[in-house]
Structure formats: structure tokens, C-alpha cells
């Protein structure tokens, strides 16, 4: 479904990704973890060309992403949920959810709104349909952002640290929605620091450090007997027993 081949990314002199190779299967839930600055956010942003790789290739559904075709490939295949939510502040929640289906996927207003209310029910915020994003809490905004991603009926949803900007109190409500989604046949790639979530939901965990993939495996392997010292060191710091 997603394939990264020898992806390198430089920002000026800074090498952020050094030969990243990764394949995500259809319906797979892939969780990416690692220390700050390890390149996991850059990797996920390369998957929808918010960052275009300096070299290497990205394939979506077998099609090679290019600067020319990215808008269409993304429109047809991928959505993203951001750390800062990035809802459109000048639109109501309902408009946020219907704008892309109506303008990009040529759905009628009625179809788009039915879809929007369906996914508002999924995230449990039907009553906020006519509110403006700034009037909602962080957790609510992020659940709306997830509903917005679902409304385009993408087969792939990318989550770039979706709970990192939230109050501790509202993190769980967002994770609960994501756990619910994980039961569907959607391909999910999640960059997160929530180890509990990773353990519960991931089919596979990828650990990155220094712009490279250090280790990957299923959660059991990963949390119980990781091979590399770098992963052990990281887990030792992050998991409070």
C-alpha cells in the first residue's frame, strides 16, 4: 500500500533521513516510535509528499509519487491527522468535514453531510456540528480532525503525533477513537509516544533513531525482547514501571 525505497531527506546540510526503506501493507496498523529528531515525523510526511524526499522513491498503491501527480494520488488515497489539528478555523465543524468531499470528490451537499454526521457519530461529537473549531477543546478538535480524515474515505490515514499537543486529560478520548478505527480495514501509520497505544493497536512497530530504521517487529517482540541496545535504552527511559 505504501512503499518507501532508499528515501533520503536533507534540510540544508542536515541529513534527516538516511536510506529509509519501509513497506506498509493494506489494512496494516504501523506505529513509528523513537526519540525526538529521529526522523519519524519526516518519514510520515514523505508518505504524502508534505516533504519531498531529496532522493529515493515513495509508492502509493503501486504508483510512484511525483511532484506532478501528488495532488491526485493524495486526493484518492491518503488523509492526515496533525499534531496541531489544523482544522479550518473559518468554517464550522460540518463545513470542515464536507468541504473536501464536496469540492474534491464531487459529492452532493446531502451525501457529504450524511457522511459527515456518520463520522461525527463515530467520534462522538454529533452535537458539535455547527460549532467553530476554536470553541472546542484540544481533544474535541483532534476527534473532529480524525472525522475529517475519515470523510474523504481514504484507504490510508497518517497520524503525525496526534496526541502530543493535548492536555493529559484529553489524550485518552483521542486514543479511544483511534483504537476504534484500528478495527476497520484502514491502513494506519501512527507516529506517537503513547506506548500503551502502540502495544494495543500496532501490527508492527518501527523504531527510528538518527534518521534510520533501527529495528522493527510486532509489539510483543518489541516490548519484551528487543534486539538493539538503542531500543532497550529508549524503552527503559520511556516506560515507567
Amino acid at each position: 500500500m505504501i512503499k518507501l525505497e532508499h528515501v533520503y531527506k536533507n534540510f540544508g546540510d542536515l541529513e534527516v533521513l538516511k536510506d529509509v526503506n519501509l513497506e506498509v501493507k493494506e489494512g496494516e496498523k504501523l506505529v513509528m516510535i523513537g526519540p525526538s529528531g529521529s526522523g519519524k515525523s519526516t518519514t510520515i510526511r514523505c508518505m504524502n509528499f508534505l516533504e519531498e524526499p531529496t532522493s529515493g522513491s515513495v509508492y502509493i498503491n503501486g504508483e510512484k509519487l511525483t511532484h506532478q501527480n501528488k495532488t491526485k494520488v493524495i486526493r484518492d488515497n491518503i488523509s492526515m491527522v496533525f499534531q496541531q489539528f489544523n482544522l479550518y478555523p473559518h468554517m464550522t465543524v460540518l463545513k470542515n468535514l464536507t468541504i473536501a468531499p464536496m469540492k474534491l470528490h464531487h459529492k452532493s451537499k446531502k451525501e457529504a453531510e450524511e457522511l459527515a454526521f456518520h463520522y461525527l457519530d463515530v467520534v462522538g461529537l454529533r452535537e458539535k456540528a455547527h460549532a467553530y473549531p476554536t470553541m472546542l477543546s484540544g481533544g474535541q478538535q483532534q476527534r473532529i480532525a480524525i472525522a475529517r480524515a475519515l470523510c474523504t474515505e481514504s484507504k490510508i490515514i497518517l497520524f503525525d503525533e496526534p496526541t502530543s499537543a493535548l492536555d493529559p486529560e484529553t489524550i485518552q478520548e483521542v486514543l479511544d477513537v483511534m483504537i476504534k478505527l484500528a478495527k476497520e480495514n484502514i491502513t494506519m501509520v501512527v507516529v506517537t509516544h503513547e506506548m500503551g497505544f502502540a502495544r494495543q493497536v500496532a501490527d508492527r512497530i518501527v523504531f527510528m533513531a538518527g534518521g534510520q530504521i533501527i529495528e522493527e517487529g510486532n509489539p510483543e517482540h518489541f516490548f519484551e525482547n528487543p534486539e538493539s541496545d538503542r531500543v532497550k535504552q529508549f524503552l527503559g527511559k520511556i516506560i515507567r514501571k
Partner: protein, 245 residues
């Protein structure tokens, strides 16, 4: 001095009212088409400045810096005489439209650039991540948010352009100020300084004041709306806290 405000002087202005009407007409049509040109140039160069493409940014920068750092009178003369001496004279009104349009366009470009740059990068990324192309992104997501930042300073530029039509005087203009000046210095019409300039000033005021008033009302309205949203945000958070206690 007493003669300046005399009834005779006012009478003279009234007699030659068609001169003032013609000046007003020329000023308004120069301004109208100048504004259209300024808007088109402002949008094109403003978008170029925010395109993230180096050559386009550079071209936009060069345009803005040259125009903003030379006097509009010079630009006006340059256009008029350069064309006149190469036998391509385009007339005073058209010269005015082009030179004022190009001049104000540089300021419009800056206003639009600033308005777009004020929108957080996350908005561009969210739109791209949904598959909006450049034009769709600007039209549906970015410009509707920029417009409230852009509009007040843009109206100020429109008012400046209207007043700057007086620059046409230097190329022998047909605008309101030029005609007023020829009226008060004219052999047959001369002398009625005060009434003529008062009438001329009033005509400018009648056009420009509603525009500036509109801009300031609009700005005040936006401030009020922002406060209202902040207030709503504040109360929701407080309610949230109260609910948790």
C-alpha cells in the same frame, strides 16, 4: 482677502461647474481602472511572493522594491515622456491608469503577501494533505482567512490611489486637482482660490471618506468577532474545568 470668500467667487465656481465635473469624472475613471490594474498586479505578484519558488519570489521582490523606492511622480513622468518621445503617446488618462495602477499594485502585492503569510503553515499542509491543488487551496482555505487581514489596508491603498490622481498634474493632467489649478490661475476664471479648492477638496472627501469609514468599521467589527470567539473559548474552557471539579 475679503474677496476670497465673496459671493462673486462662489458664483464663478458655480458658473464653471462643468470644469469641476469633468475633473471629477477624469479622476474617478482614472482611479477606477487604476484600482482594477492594481488589484490584478497585486494578486499576481502577491501570490508569486508566497509561492515558495525562488525565481517568482525574486521577480516579485524586484517589482515591489523598484516601485516602492522611487517617487510615483517620477514613474508617471517616465512612462509619459518615454512613450511620447518614442512617438507612442497614449494620452494622459491612460498614462495615469497605468502608472498609478503599477504603483499601487506594488503596495497591494505587499498587503496580499502579508495577508497570506499570516496564515499558519498548518492550514496549507492540511489542505495539501486532503488533495487540494494550489488554486483550490488558495480559494477555499487560505484567502477566506486572509481576506480579513487584507481588506482594511487594501482600502487604504485604494484611497491613496484616488488622491494620487493629482500626480497627473505633472504631465498636464485632466484630473480634478489639475483642472482646479488651471481654473484658479486661468486668465478668465482666475482668482476664486478658496471656493475652488474647497469644492475640489469636498469632492475628494465625498469619495474617500465612505471608503476609509468602511475600512475602519470593518476593522472594528473583526476585532469584536475575535473577542467574541476568544470569549467563547474562554467560557468553554471554564465550563470544562467546572465540569471536571
Amino acid at each position: 482677502m475679503s474677496g476670497i470668500f465673496s459671493a462673486r467667487a462662489w458664483d464663478k465656481v458655480w458658473t464653471y461647474r462643468s470644469t469641476f465635473a469633468l475633473g471629477l469624472f477624469n479622476t474617478v475613471r482614472t482611479a477606477f481602472f487604476g484600482i482594477l490594474l492594481a488589484l490584478v498586479l497585486g494578486i499576481i505578484f502577491g501570490l508569486m511572493a508566497t509561492s515558495g519558488k525562488k525565481p517568482l519570489k525574486f521577480i516579485s521582490r524586484v517589482y515591489v522594491e523598484i516601485i516602492q523606492n522611487t517617487p510615483v511622480l517620477l514613474q508617471c513622468c517616465f512612462l509619459y515622456y518615454a512613450l511620447a518621445f518614442s512617438n507612442h503617446s497614449i494620452g494622459i488618462i491612460l498614462t495615469g491608469i497605468i502608472s498609478l495602477g503599477v504603483y499601487t499594485g506594488a503596495y497591494m502585492a505587499e498587503v496580499i503577501r502579508a495577508g497570506i503569510e499570516a496564515i499558519p503553515v498548518g492550514q496549507f499542509e492540511a489542505a495539501s494533505s486532503q488533495g487540494f491543488n494550489y488554486i483550490e487551496k488558495m480559494y477555499y482555505i487560505i484567502l477566506p482567512q486572509s481576506i480579513k487581514i487584507i481588506l482594511p489596508p487594501m482600502v487604504n491603498q485604494v484611497v491613496n490611489l484616488i488622491k494620487n490622481t493629482s500626480c497627473l498634474y505633472i504631465i498636464g493632467g485632466a484630473d480634478l486637482i489639475s483642472l482646479t489649478y488651471s481654473f484658479v490661475t486661468g486668465e478668465n476664471t482666475g482668482g476664486a482660490y478658496a471656493p475652488a479648492y474647497i469644492v475640489s477638496g469636498l469632492l475628494f472627501f465625498v469619495i474617500c471618506f465612505p471608503l476609509t469609514k468602511f475600512a475602519s468599521t470593518w476593522e472594528a467589527y473583526l476585532k469584536k468577532m475575535d473577542q467574541r470567539i476568544q470569549f467563547a473559548q474562554h467560557t468553554t474552557i471554564e465550563e470544562g474545568v467546572a465540569a471536571n471539579e
